[in-house]
Amino acid sequence: MTDMSQSPASAPAAKPKGGSLFQQDARTKRRNAAESRFKIYGIAAISVGLLMLIVLVTNIVTAGTGAFQQTYVELDVDLLESKLDKKGNRNIDEIKKVSTFGYAPLISAALESEVEKLGIQTDLKPKEMGKILSKAAQAELRNYVIANPNKIGETVSFRFLTNSRVDGYLKGRVSRESIVNDKSISAEQLDLVDQLRDAGVLYKAFNPDFIFGADASDQRPEAAGIGVSMLGSLFMMFVVLALALPIGVAASIYLEEFAPQNRLTDIIEVNISNLAAVPSIVFGILGLAVFINYMHLPTSAPLVGGLVLTLMTLPTIIISTRASLKAVPPSIRDAALGVGASKMQAVFHHVLPLAAPGILTGTIIGLAQALGETAPLLLIGMVGFIASNPPDGIVAGFLSPNSAMPAQIYEWSKRADPAFYERAWGGIIILLIFLVTMNTIAVILRRRFERRW
């Protein structure tokens, strides 16, 4: 009652606040400003994230595309019989005795005659001129001669790689200022390069050897390729696929369809979710201690790498397989059981085929993750190793030392010559092409075959 009598008394003091709804008061303005500020923070955060992505991708593309092009010089080389086969009997063993150094004068001479033919003026001696070419040129010539001894005495046209500095000069990485203290190239040699380029003898072209070739030593960045380590990665992925898919699917079927509610099941489940979060380097330590130190499996072998990556990918595959098994409606199981199938038959004949697209998607994503993983491979010795020869045969592919794509990229990033950095970025482009392809396949599979019940 008192409330009622008092309310009129207090009412006159309260002036109607703000007045019109169409006119914002200070507080509302402040609140609306806070609202739009908040929204801007959100947009800013997303923009920063996307900007980082764009910076990263443009950086990879701009820094890496150079690796797919290489500078070449076209030369006609006289394969002088007097140098390569003094006795003239084409005995292959005697031809092999001429070392790569023996081929250097031939190349220098070819370059000199080319320079003369084009009428280029230079003070360089032939030997100095020859230094604009890669050290790999001699080996290339020698391999050619050993493969075709009947060509000795003829003049054969070759396309040789140039030195990495010359290559860098054409790509803008090396400039006349930056080579002042550089012993491997001089300004006169660059003058020669300029003239050869104007004459069209020296040019940049697509370099398939980067994609399919083998790694090269520290001295010859221009000859290094990622092909052999790509094979190493391929063999590792075979191991991962052959082990992780069956084991992962079997484990998921057990956990999702058969596991009783007991202590053991709990322990398995906790273990799987924990393994998914264990740092990858710990798997590397496991591989080193168990596979290499205890079982004496060969160091640096793709088999060991594959085993380690299998253990690492298993939780990913199990988690996604369980999700796709769970997505199959119980009515399918009930119907199968209702017509007399055993539980095992219901799962293997009906649930598993229906879950297959999801399992496949999860497996591809797990493989993509394994393909890009580097840290465990460092510990089992897939780095610090020059993958210079492709494995001979399938067994050797699994057991002989090799590198893997990410390990090869890491290896290049550690080398002193900046020409290797371009290779590392180029390697990343190839790696990312693989990953994007695999993920695209996974997305397409999911779109095409995923059924909504």
Binding site: G42, G49, I268, L275, A277, V278, P279, I281
Partner: protein, 490 residues
Amino acid sequence: MALSWLLLILLALAVIGFFAGRSRALASAAGEARDLHSLPSYYGYNVALTALVPALGVLIIWLLVQPMIVNSTVSGLIPDQAIPEGSDRGLVMSEVRRVAYGLDGAVASGAMAEAQARDGNADIETLTKTLKESGQVLTQDITQPILVAAQKYRSMTSTGKVAMQVVVLAIALFGAAFAYGRTHMDFRARNVVEQGVLALLLLAASIAILTTVGIVLSMLFETMNFFQLHSWKDFFLGTTWAPNFRGGSELSILPLLWGTLYISLIALLVAVPIGLFAAIYLSEYASGAARSIAKPLLEILAGIPTIVYGLFALLTVGPALVSLFGDGGALGVGWMASSNAVLTAGLVMGIMLIPFVSSLSDDIINAVPQSMRDGSLGLGATHSETVRNVILPAALPGIVGAILLAASRAIGETMIVVMAAGAIAKFSGNPFEAMTTITTRIVSQLTGDTDFASPETLVAFALGLTLFVITLGLNILALYIVRKYREQYE
């Protein structure tokens, strides 16, 4: 006989067993499949599985156990005097193995007769010469005890191999015969096969446990070896990290832990605000179209391999930071000497973690019931007030869980810090200096020539175990918090 042949024989046996069992079952029912207890193929599977599975199991166990027995027997043969000063039994054993492999290789290439390789009184000099000529790798001079041990190693290994083949084949044949004998129209083949398959499924699921046990045991043993060589007090409580391969190293985890935590902190300072605001905007403000574009694009950042981030830090972000903060840089402050720095690694790791924070927070914010939003908006709160005062407090435990998961990821991250953080272990608060982390040291102590008897190598296992425990602890804590939160609304 190589292992692959043994496996092929087992496989062939299983295939033969399958058809034999199937036809025997059909024969026992006089060709009338409907009289059988199970479908005919189950009888076949029964024979095949009974032949294959126990034999394969024994094979795997044998392969694991035999090296252990051979090693312990052979290492008992080496007298203490034969172990040189400054070396230990493990090193001598690896030499023994090398000699044994060398002998194997020499015999295989025909450079040496089997009898010569087995001759215990062989002249060591001629033996060494023959081995070297046939291209075998020997690092030390062979001594008499090493030769004896190597010959014992060879003979035990080859006897073991023959015994293994005999035993495995016998088990397979016995299994096949047993199952074949039991095959009869009334035999409950399907039930038996299904029991067997179930056991295999359970085995596959248990590999997760085996892996964890393998991780823990492999690190625990070596860590215990390490603590026998190096005091645990210095490891956990010391303040200097100065490995020295000539001995007398100071190996303490604290400076490494500081570097790890400092870099992770910077990474989280980058990732948490960006990730959280991105998640809030995407789940509360963004239109469906914007969300369906921005969310997958952000998640690409999580799918990029860490080697890419490492290279990005090493070759792009580091030099860019130096050109800003370095000597003669754009800001003219001269704080940063080299591109390897805590800031470089932290920033790049932060970029990598943005999608972790944003996706997890996005899920959690979406799980907050719509009724709470409606209630708050209905009372006149603006959208941002609703987010700050209602949604975030409700989602807080989940967000904390997401941040902890991101932190555990940051602590265990390897490639970025290996490539961009540097190698100097010290306590310093300066983000422009190079520092080192636990993972970096694990990599540097375990790559190259490793000697499993020196504390400088073994310390990597102690570091790995510590890392494992820290990340495991953070994950369990995060899952606990998230689970606790879920209970509130369901």
